[in-house]
Each structure stands twice: as structure tokens, then as C-alpha cells.
Assembly symmetry: C2
Homo-oligomer: 411 residues x 2
Amino acid sequence: MRKVAVVGAGMTRFGKWMDKNLKDLGREAVEAAMKDAGVDKPAIEAAVVGNATAGLITGQEMIKAQVILRDMGFGDIPMINTENACASSSTAFHLAWLYVASGMYDCVLALGVEKLYHEDKTRSFRAIGSAVDLTAIQELMAAAAARGREKAEGGDGGSGAGEKRSMFMDFYAASAREHMKRYGTTAVQFAKVAVKSHKNASLNEYAQYRETYSVEDILNSPMVAEPLTRLMCSPIGDGAAALVLCSEEKARQLTTKPVWVTASILGSGKDRAPGEPGVTTRMAKKAYEMAGVGPDDLDVVELHDASAPAELIEYEELGLCKLGEGGQLIEEGATEIMGRIPVNPSGGLLSKGHPIGATGCAQLTEIVWQLRGECGDRQVKGGNAKVGLTQNGGGMMRGEAAALTVHILER
Amino acid sequence: MRKVAVVGAGMTRFGKWMDKNLKDLGREAVEAAMKDAGVDKPAIEAAVVGNATAGLITGQEMIKAQVILRDMGFGDIPMINTENACASSSTAFHLAWLYVASGMYDCVLALGVEKLYHEDKTRSFRAIGSAVDLTAIQELMAAAAARGREKAEGGDGGSGAGEKRSMFMDFYAASAREHMKRYGTTAVQFAKVAVKSHKNASLNEYAQYRETYSVEDILNSPMVAEPLTRLMCSPIGDGAAALVLCSEEKARQLTTKPVWVTASILGSGKDRAPGEPGVTTRMAKKAYEMAGVGPDDLDVVELHDASAPAELIEYEELGLCKLGEGGQLIEEGATEIMGRIPVNPSGGLLSKGHPIGATGCAQLTEIVWQLRGECGDRQVKGGNAKVGLTQNGGGMMRGEAAALTVHILER
């Protein structure tokens, strides 16, 4: 397989954009990425678009890539629509990488885009709720009804609850409590993740929430599901991010700062044997092998902090520290922008925001910018970061992400 | 890029399966394809699933591949969800092919699956209607309203109209009338396409409609949109089809009858210059170049006959005859099972049926079976067919398919 470089990346600011539709958001990110790459439309030979909820939010299904890109004047290039819940656009990036790595095309666009806010908020929550196995939930509810219970656990995506609430948070809260019980991790440590994220986001003009908070602020914000408070949960949002991927030859023509994709791994959850490591651990192992690096080689990480405790657990799963030492890692400040291994310098899902289908490409965009030393006040390693990793999970089935990607990028 | 073989193919019968859900249909096709390939689940290293409407029909979005496949006991393999309207699963096949051709995986599953029938028929029609640019339609309607007209053309997918009716038929009817005007093509010639399709489907145990009809029956069935009668339009339906793709080395171990994928082309529609050939012509040209064959080399074709006139027009676009001679080709019987170049021996979309996201993989399944000489009463070329082609279009934007695939398979 061929070497693949990212030669351009761009994104919209994440936020609540009631006056922008899927086309507006997608176009803005694509134009930014192409400008960054210094390529014009005829150079793009294929496009892969990740989006998770447009079908349920707007009714637009099936040909979202074409709806967004054709009006921009791309020719009759291959356009692929892909979904993998919150990992939709890292899946799109994986496929764009595959097109170039295979030798089929030399220059391919990956786009992640999401318009999650809707005047009817229950619609947003119902859409998010489709990232689980609905038949299984229907079966659970039928079984519960048969047992005479009023309703089963799980359900419709938390419609009617607060804006930052989703059914996923019940799962994250349970795994947080498990971590506390097993390793003595504390709510204060979870809060410190959220403090860091919000501080980082305050330095990122693309972030949805740029306010900073103290540990007390985080702990005192409304409780979503013990021990998760609202400020420990990722919000819903709108946004888009795009990247341009090229063959080595093409990249050398276009830029003096190519960022190489040295691992692109997509996997899915499975029913684990007792004690078997989780899907992040398993996919990270494959990615490290593919890139020929280990966790100690990483200079910067963007990971899927859909909740603050998830970040801490993923430290361990990615091998940034030993099992059970996630709490200690955040206490030490190792994952701060100026720390040993900065994590989520962008602000992450918690604070930069989490427009589902845009998140994967936005994580990759941040790593590209970090490796090029272009991140200003939130720049890690004084601009000398060489190896970055993204971890992006999507959907949920029986306690594992339904889809999970790990990418390693190097300059 | 590596040589890729299809080593197994299987499908459900297409039809109205009110007692089967997406999981049931998907599982049936996957099990059939794996049995045909002689491979067990651990051999499958990745899976790509095409589905177009489950989000709007059932609410299940984002992780349909995982919902169907995980319960079957596949491990934590990459699972990709892809949509491209009626070309969703030929897009899935294209990506499965890319995985193997790239060298990343040796054995990959492609699945197309659709559950289009719903107790509320308007839901089915609304779902089909999302295969167009809804924002553009909203803009058209707003503009029309501003001009004081009651409603604009186009719209909501024909809800309330007969079961076989969809908004696409207006487009197909217009292009049929254009062809009649320009080339003298007749409604009788269109009817002959439908007669052939239904005759072929009567020989296919997987077909949704197995009745045979005379030219008069076809012409006398209810008018949908002049000159299209109901029996000239593809129906809605449920079903699934799956294929197993392998590297050359793996294929040699598994089968003595590998079917090679010698071209896999995906493209999208564009705004054409006057006189510029359509997307089928353009993508077929690329496919012929990739495979190193021409239309004269073809032994069998499965093409996207969403309406009877479309088949006739696609004869010309694929180069099976000259421009304007499609009517003559059907008159001559050249595209009959026993003809010079048999087209849609399966019965095609018209009669085998058209469960949107399953159609692409079903076309490919038919070609695999034809090239292996396993089609019994509907077998072409006495079992000696060597080269087959599929053409599968999806969605519609300004008069061109939004997505279009052409595959060439050879034994």
C-alpha cells in the first residue's frame, strides 16, 4: 500500500448554527481544507462524506455527499456516503485514505458534517438515539412489558431531558462508577478532565464553548447521571471538518509540510470474554503495529471524550498510562497542553463540541494543525510534535462502541 | 492494485416480507453467500453494508451493519455503513473490492439490504423521496410560492399514489417521451422490455413478480406517467444480497470457479454541457478501459431498469447498440436470454424487484451465478458466458443519477 499524506485540513467553528444547513456547513469546511491544501476542485478525484443524523433531522438521506458537493462544482467524481454514528467521519477519512493507499486515486477529500440542532429538540435526541440497536431495545421493552414492568432501561435518547443529556451518558456514568470502585478514581479527577478541556477550548477559535471553569464549577453543575455533571458531558452541536489526502508524489508537489497517515484502523465492538481488553485497546494495538510506534512515541492525542470519565479511561486503553492510573495522569497534569502527553488540546468533544458526524474529521484536523505547529496558544511541544493519534468511537452495542477508529499521523 | 475475485454470492427472494426485519433479511443473504463461498465467519476480515432507507422507515440509522452482523457472531472487524440511494450496495461492493485490491484485507463481505415495505405506505414513499436534493426542492417550492403558484413540480415522493409509483417515474417518463420524439421509439418497444423482464423473472426463484405478460397486458396496465404503465415501472420491495470478495491467493484456495472483478467504477452525476454523454456512458467508458474490454465482449448484462424505457436507453449508453437503436435491439430479441447480448436475465428491477439498497449486490450476484453457469432455465450462453457487466444508478440531481456504478466481472 502506498504512503498517504494529509495536505490540507479545515473546519467550521462548532456551535449552534440555526441559520446554516448541511450544505452551508459542508461547503465552509471543504473550502477551508482545499484552500489550506492549495488545490482546486479539478484536483479532487473522489470524496467520502461522513454524516450521522441528517436523515432523521432533515429527511435528507442517501445522497448527502452529492447534495453538498455537487453544487460546489465538483465533477462526476466518486462520492461515497458513510455512517458509523459518532465515528462517521473518521470512517470517511479511513476510506479516503484507502482510495489513495490502494493506488486508485491520488487526491481524495474526506468530509464530516453534522446539523444536529433543530427547532424541535426531541428530534435531535431521537436522531442521537438511533446510534444503538433499536430492534434490541424494542425486544428489551417487549420483554420488560411481558414481565409487567412499566418500561425497560435504555430507550429513546432521553428526549425531554436537558440539552447535554443523552442515553449514552447512562452508560458513561456506569463505567465511571465502576472505575471509581475498582481504582479509587474520584469525581474531582473527572472534573479535572473537564477543567482542562474547557481551558483548552478557550484557546481554540473553532470551539463551541470557550468559557473556563474551576473544579467546583464542574462539580456543581447540574447532575446528569451520578457522577456525571452537565459540564462533564459533551454537548450537541453543528459543524463540519474536511481534509485533503494525497499520494506521496502529489504531496511533495503541494506542500513542504505533509502529514503522513501511518496507521488507519477501523474496528467494531464485540461480545468480550471476561477480562478481555476493550475495543479501544484492541484497535490501538493494531494501529501501533501498523505505524511501528508505541504510546511513548506520541506527542499529542485527540480522543473521544464524550464524557470526562471516558477520557480518563481511554488514557489507560491507549497505553498513555497503566490500567487504573488515569486519575493520577490527570492529577499530574501530564495531559495538559504543556504536559508530557497533551490530550485534547482542541478542547475535545466536551468543549470544542461534538457534532456527531463531524467529530472524527475535526480530531484529525486538530492533529494535522498540531503536527504542523500552527496552533498558536494551544500549540503542544513548542511546535515540534512529530507523532499524533486520534481515537473516535461511534454507536453502542452491549457495552462496546459499535465502530471505533484509531489513526496515527506523523510529520 | 491486486486482482480481486468473488468467491460467493447469495440473496433472499425479493418480495413483500412483512414478517422479516432488516436483520432477518441481511442474515439470510450473508449466510447464503458464505455458504456459497465455503467460508466461515472468522475468515471475513471486514464488511461493507449498503442500505438506503432504514433510517426513515424504521428509525435505525448509523450502525446498521453492526446491528445486522454483530448478532451473527462476526468479531471486531471493520464494518462500514454506506448509502448511495439505489446504488448503495454496489457502492458497498466497490468498497469491499477496494479493501481487497488495496492489499489491506484478503476476504471481505459486501451486503445490500432493504426493508422498504411498511404498514404505513406513505413512509415508504417519503423514504424513496429522500434520494433527491431536498433543499433544492424546498427552494423550488419556496420560489414557486413566491410566484403565487399553488405548488411546484417535484415534491414528496408521490405519497398517496399507487404502490409502483414514485417521483422518479416522472423523470423516466420525460426521458422516454424525448427518446420517442428523437428516434421514433414506440410504446410497444418499451412494453417489449417489460415482457422480456417478466418472462425472465418467471424463471428466477428469487424474483418478486413471476407472472408473465403480453405486450397488450403491459400497455393496458394502469398509466403511471405517459408512456409508462404500471408494469413498466419497478416495484418497491424487501430483500438482501451479499457477496464474498477475496484476494487471488485466497480465491485459489477456496474455489475452482472464481469470478474476477476486472472493473469497479463509481461516479456521480454532473451538470452536463449540451451534447455531452450521460453518466452511464461516461462511467462505462472508464470501466471498459479498466477491464480492457468493450461492449462487444460482453456476454451478459444486468442494468438499472427502474423503468422499461430506461433499459432501452441504457442499451445505447453502454454501447450495446448505437444511439437511437435501443428500440431496434429489443425488437430483434438480441437482449433475450437466448439472444446475442442477454440483458437482465434475472428479471431486472422491473420484475425481480427493487429493494433499493439490495439491488446493486443482487445484480452482481446474478452475474456471478451466470458466469459460473448456475442459472438453470435462465442461463445465458449455454453456461459459457465469460464477461458480464452491471450498471446501477442511485438518486437523482438535475437529470443525472447522483451515484452510478459500473462493474465488469469475468471468469
